[in-house]
């Protein structure tokens, strides 16, 4: 599904990623953990195509295509989805409008019939129920005045609607209380399937209590310094990120 080779990236001339190698197979869920400033969010942004990052070396292949050559909207239509760490408020654009424009852009690109108003309404109601989102939120401006938990739920709603092949969740757990975390995790688990891959970027182990990953990678100084199974997350939780510094120094 996704193959990252020797990826280097910088922002304003400052090197953030220093040779990331990562293979994500179809149906796999990978967790990327690391301390603040390790490059986790940069990796997520580079994969989604944010243009304030400069890729200086390496390549990323997604479903046999060069991902880095694609515009952000093409990546989305090809099935790459980024759940934002800080979802953007867009006053004046209703959630409904964004959701419908998004799904039809994807469907059109993939050669499927676009949804008409009725089909869309039926589908979105179903998906909203899945993430326990009240329907009134659909008619409000995108994320405007939403609480932190509501914004994250809205990201998961978009993901559930678009059914991406590769989902990248950038610290979706941060700032969520336990109830909100459970709802988000439930949404993610419902989307999880043998056809879909996921990359969970997180600072804490607690998300992984609810979404159990197949692989865990530890990122430090812009490189993956250790990879393992789900037990690596527990080890990290126990020993703390100080342990990472020792590993990185070694």
């Amino acid at each position: 599904m996704l193959s990252i080779k020797n990826l280097h990236a910088s922002i304003d001339g400052k090197r953030i990623l220093n040779g990331i190698n990562l293979e994500v197979g179809t149906g796999e869920v990978h967790a990327i953990m690391g301390p603040n400033g390790s490059g986790k969010s940069t990796l997520a942004s580079v994969l989604a195509g944010r243009d304030n990052y400069e890729v200086t070396e390496g390549n990323v292949i997604y479903k046999d295509q060069d991902l880095l050559e694609m515009e952000p909207e093409i990546r989305a239509r090809e099935g790459v989805f980024l759940a934002f760490q800080y979802p953007v408020e867009i006053p004046g654009v209703t959630n409904m409008y964004l959701l419908k424009a998004a799904i039809n852009a994807v469907k059109k690109h993939q050669g499927q019939d676009e949804l008409d108003a009725r089909e869309f309404l039926k589908l979105i109601k179903e998906k909203a129920a899945m993430v326990e989102m009240k329907q009134e939120f659909l008619y409000r401006s995108v994320n405007e005045g939403f609480s932190g938990g509501e914004k994250k739920r809205n990201e998961i709603l978009q993901m559930a609607l678009l059914e991406p092949y590769l989902s990248i969740l950038d610290e979706t757990d941060s700032g969520l209380d336990i109830d909100a975390l459970k709802i988000v995790a439930k949404g993610v688990n419902l989307i999880r399937s043998e056809q879909r891959s996921m990359v969970l970027v997180t600072h804490y182990q607690r998300l992984l209590d609810y979404i159990v990953p197949d692989y865990v990678h530890v990122l430090a100084g812009g490189k993956i310094i250790r990879s393992g199974g789900k037990e690596l997350a527990l080890e990290l939780e126990e020993k703390g990120y100080g342990w990472i510094d020792e590993l990185a120094a070694a």
Binding site: F81, P91, F120
Partner: protein
């Protein structure tokens, strides 16, 4: 400038010789006084503080003809009509009333809707105070307008009545090189209510001047929803001068929507004369090319416990230029005034220019006044967010531009008008492939 002054004064003399015998004395006196003022002042220049950002070269270099005869009825106006809009419609062509194109029943319950140019002696005897007492703010344009007093709408709404449909006034410029000078009047009775939509349009590519005035008087508890919709072609010039006088507990909602016109200047003065009066002033200008739009607003709080709420939003593309000058004056007696003003601008091009100038003059000591102005570009983070959901860059930019003006658009309460404006906005500014309807 003498030449251009003489040009209009000569036309005035010819017109007066023809019409003055049939006009009441008070109107002749107003006209005489106004032409004297025009002779003295001429058109404003960049040296006038209120006109320093707006060059009138294109207006004063052209010798427009004021149309004095009745208009021919054969023109096809269908391209200018909003078919979904159910209204009482008055149509003026090149400044002259056209009965044939209008859609007015013999009698409108609670309303008296006439054209100034065809008023009879009996009608002049019952003319509203808004007409008999000329309170127009005087500058060269309004003086010229009152001097001719050639035509325009005169609308009176009776006490305790609400008009059952909006009144739509369509000013169409069709003839090359003409000046339309409509002098308009709205008199709202006690606790009366009405919606009025004043639209200005012109044939594409036409060089014309539309110089209108409007005097609004709202009596106690009256409520007027007024829309000024400016969609003339980019070769036309439009100058509008509106003066509103608000009595106790009355409400004036004024929405100025400017999408067209090469040079547009709006002078709006609202006086809150008695306690409890309220005005909303909303403005939207969305311009491109070399369009120039200048909004001057003047809100005068002359009595205690009045409120005013002003929001102007602008989208400027290419080499367009806008001016916003918003003055709020709170007089000494106007305690407990609550006045808010904001002007927000979105620049889509590095070559567009906005000059925004709020001006607060406060002589009372127990008031709430706030003002703010912003100038910005499309937010890159929002743009990336939309693109990351599959929406292409052009559409995403259009969507964000439209979203910027959405809060003003939402306050266009007449649905057919709002739909028509959205379509026009999309056609002028936004990529045609984007459907903006929200289902």
């Amino acid at each position: 400038m003498t030449d251009i002054i003489d040009h209009y004064v000569d036309q005035y003399i010819a017109d007066s010789a023809r019409t003055s015998a049939s006009l009441p004395d008070w109107l002749c006196a107003q006209k005489e006084s106004a032409i004297s003022q025009f002779k003295e002042s001429g058109f404003p220049t960049l040296k006038d503080e209120d006109w320093r950002y707006t060059s009138l070269k294109s207006v004063v270099s052209k010798f427009f003809e004021v149309k004095v005869d009745e208009t021919s009825g054969s023109a096809d106006l269908s391209e200018f009509l909003i078919s979904e809009l159910d209204s009482y419609r008055m149509v003026f062509i090149d400044g002259r009333f056209s009965q044939q194109h209008s859609n007015l029943p013999d009698a409108v319950t609670g309303g008296d809707i006439t054209a100034l140019g065809s008023m009879t002696t009996a009608e002049f005897e019952h003319a509203p105070q808004a007409l008999t007492q000329d309170q127009t703010t005087k500058h060269g344009f309004s003086a010229l307008n009152v001097a001719f007093s050639s035509d325009g709408y005169v609308i009176q709404v009776a006490d305790n009545t609400k008009l059952d449909k909006p009144v739509e006034i369509l000013f169409v410029s069709l003839s090359e090189n003409t000046a339309a000078l409509p002098r308009n009047v709205i008199q709202m009775g006690n606790y009366s209510q009405a919606e009025l939509i004043e639209r200005h349009v012109s044939k594409n590519g036409l060089s014309a001047l539309n110089n209108s005035t409007c005097q609004v008087d709202i009596a106690e508890g009256g409520k007027l929803d007024y829309y000024l919709v400016e969609t003339m072609s980019n070769s036309a010039t439009q100058v509008t001068s509106l003066n509103a006088e608000l009595a106790k507990d009355s409400t004036f909602s004024c929405r100025t929507l400017t999408l067209g016109g090469g040079l547009v200047r709006n002078n709006l003065t609202v006086s809150l004369n008695q306690p409890g009066a309220h005005c909303d002033m909303l403005g939207l200008y969305s311009i491109a090319g070399k369009q120039h739009v200048d909004n001057h607003t003047n809100v005068i709080h002359a009595a205690p416990h009045c409120t005013s709420n002003e929001l102007y939003k602008g989208v400027l593309d290419q080499r367009s230029r806008a001016v916003f000058h918003g003055r709020i004056k709170v007089e000494q007696d106007a305690q407990k005034t609550d006045a808010v003003q904001s002007n927000n601008n979105l620049l889509l091009s590095a070559n567009a220019e906005i000059d925004t100038k709020p001006q607060l003059e406060i002589y009372a000591d127990d008031v709430k006044c706030a003002h703010g102005a912003t100038v910005g570009q499309i937010d890159e983070t929002s743009l990336f967010y939309l693109r990351s959901r599959g929406i292409d860059e052009t559409d995403a930019r259009s969507l964000l531009t439209f979203a910027f003006v959405n809060d003003v658009m939402e306050q266009v309460e007449v649905e057919a008008l709002r739909e028509s404006l959205s379509t026009e906005l999309a056609a002028r500014l936004i990529d045609e492939n984007v459907s903006l309807s929200v289902s």
